[in-house]
Symmetry: C2
Subunit: 404 residues, 2 copies
């Protein structure tokens, strides 16, 4: 069995370190380390069913165990023709990550990290999350027969607790600072042999590349012109950009897509740094937004994102809660997509950018829809919906009222 | 453009009627009519992306408009290896319909009915539903730019209201008998030109066939030995059986799978009729089960199901709420699948059947997982979960307690 020779690499000081799943931050720079592995010519295997197997040459896995899969990936790329007409936009597509097994893009990263955990013979994994990553990690741990430790903030909404607890992890509600908990989990993980696959875990990030490869294939082996991504800890955007960097390295693309990271204004440390031309962000004080899934005031991958966005002609924007909630409604009412508030930042960001930038008619624009609205229903208000009460004898009159 | 010559047919009196989307019950037998259309030799088109296009020869659509798709179908078939070990079962697979766009199998039927509605130039559709079908119909109506009328029972849980209302249908909460509302909707639909694509709509039923074809292809162009399906109005089971009848007609299979319809004991009109050897069911009095998605005391397709099950060596079982809730937990804890209580009847039914019937080692058994647990979270109890509260300074002690 061929073993891939993975190392961890710091994008800032370019130092390389031996692989250590318990410790993936640069000892000199304190930035997250990413994977480095030498590669030969890489191919797609598009006759395979599993997403990981289709793009295995681009992943840090020597072997893929199909029994660990929950059917992640292979998500639809939907042409948003009604939005295009409404806003006079060029071709807009939604890459709909909601159809992943636990309803979010996180499954893409979790499967790669879990493959690694099993290959290394580990039996305990964990994560620190406020939502989607908690459910995803617990679900894959269940399938892989791994013990899992899920740390959530005190006060995490009940819908997040239930949709994670159902998989029977050790679900730990922790009082205290969330940023501190992130680093505490890594140090306890090392101590107790628990692989904490948190937001910027290097294997998790490699998993997000697969989404990028799928978009490339779905567009007929061509890159899009723009990719809008909700931006929080940075792991997802880093993974997506790495996919297209890989494609460029392989000579499969010449034009690099323009990445647009979108934050919620109420928690926008990276948009703020980007606007001010800074290469490092500052912790965002007093964050407040309805887009909980992207509300990280101190994103661990933030400086990498700023660096990669700058090097690749990307952009970082922020949108208000009012704008993103409006976009959430538009996506549902025009395109039949019920996403969470965080995902809706992509459309809100596109609408905002369209006011200051002229798109070309032939442009292809991707919105990455990261998570399901079913897990954030407590944020919805039925008052804005068309709800009518009636009885069977009055039903005919009710319909007449609506129609005429 | 070739027009398929669809007629409606009564399986009981074998009379045929011209197509009428507003009226699909037999005037003589009062049973739902199913589609009949002459066919030539039929092929699969497995190089296509859209599920409908892959199996278009088997569908009553002259043309498929890809713009109406939300990416339904192509759902994973997952080997449940941990359950196989736990229960010493032969090969068990979950056909996971949760990954459909709105989180349930209903999308398969809705897309076919919506394709037809658009082809016929209609602009209004509707449905009567307590849950999954409501959200599905509203979502596809949004995408297709159709007005939609969704009738739900008074007292429908808020999570179902919100996950439907988000798509901006006319959502009508109706006081009165639910069975009566079903037929009332059809008569009002005819009056006002609203195509009510209810549970046993003939086009909806044809859509469910695609799931059957996918299973056949996913098993390497072989039929499974058993297919367990949650059973309520009957539409889903009728569609799945019709898929394998089509495959038999085309000479693609010789052994017909054994279908097992599973009802919740608290609302089991068909299991009761089946056990008593009756060819007609009686309305179930005072239904009471946590599996709301399959709680139909007077299933419109019930007599067709009894006939088809009898003719094809199938079975109908019922399981208690305790059994199905236990199976819901097992599916999550062992296989990482978080389904609704209705879907869990399949595993509960399999466990029950395994006590009275000996499976062969080489048997392939399918459980159809019909809907997401995310829409029924109010039924879950966190008391049965491993939830621990602690603070950052005490986290290490907490982990030690768990581990040692």
């Amino acid at each position: 069995m061929e073993q891939k020779m993975e190392k961890l690499e710091c994008l800032f000081c370019r130092k390389r370190y031996p692989l250590d799943v318990f410790s993936s931050f640069c000892p000199s720079c304190a930035e997250p380390l990413l994977l480095f592995y030498p590669t030969k010519k890489r191919y797609f295997y598009l006759d395979r069913v599993l997403a990981l197997e289709r793009f295995k040459d681009f992943l840090p896995l020597s072997q893929i165990n199909p029994k660990l899969s929950l059917g992640e990936g292979n998500t639809p790329l939907l042409l948003l023709d009604r939005l295009m007409k409404k806003f006079n936009f060029p071709s807009i597509f939604a890459k709909n990550e909601i159809s992943n097994p636990t309803g979010s893009f996180k499954d893409r990263g979790t499967i790669v990290a879990v493959q690694k955990a099993k290959a290394l013979g580990m039996n305990k994994i964990g994560t620190v999350s406020t939502g989607n990553m908690a459910g995803s990690t617990a679900a894959y741990a269940a399938k892989a027969s791994l013990k899992s430790f899920i740390f959530v903030k005190e006060g995490t909404p009940q819908e997040k607790i239930l949709s994670t607890g159902i998989y029977n992890p050790f679900l730990v509600k922790v009082r205290g600072d969330y940023g501190q908990l992130f680093f505490e989990s890594l140090s306890l993980g090392k101590k107790f042999g628990i692989y904490f696959m948190n937001s910027v875990d290097p294997f998790r990030i490699e998993g997000y590349k697969v989404t990028g490869f799928e978009i490339f294939v779905q567009l007929g082996h061509k890159p899009p012109d723009y990719i809008f991504v909700p931006l929080s800890s940075g792991g997802h955007l880093i993974g997506l950009m790495r996919a297209f960097l890989d494609l460029k390295k392989e000579g499969l693309i010449h034009n690099f897509p323009r990445f647009v990271g979108v934050q919620a204004k109420g928690c926008s440390p990276l948009a703020r740094a980007y606007e001010r031309g800074k290469s490092r962000f500052k912790k965002f004080i007093n964050p407040q937004t309805i887009a909980h899934a992207i509300s990280n005031p101190n994103p661990p991958g933030g400086n990498i994102v700023l660096k990669m966005i700058r090097e690749n002609n990307g952009l970082i924007l922020s949108v208000s809660d009012r704008e993103l909630l409006k976009s959430q409604k538009i996506l549902a009412e025009y395109e039949g997509i019920f996403c969470d508030p965080a995902s809706a930042t992509t459309l809100a960001g596109l609408i905002k950018l369209s006011k200051i930038l002229t798109f070309q008619k032939q442009d292809k624009i991707i919105l990455i829809i990261t998570g399901s609205g079913l897990k954030t229903m407590s944020d919805l208000e039925s008052s804005s919906m068309n709800i009518i009460k009636t009885s069977i004898p009055n039903l005919e009159e009710t319909i007449k009222d609506v129609l005429f």
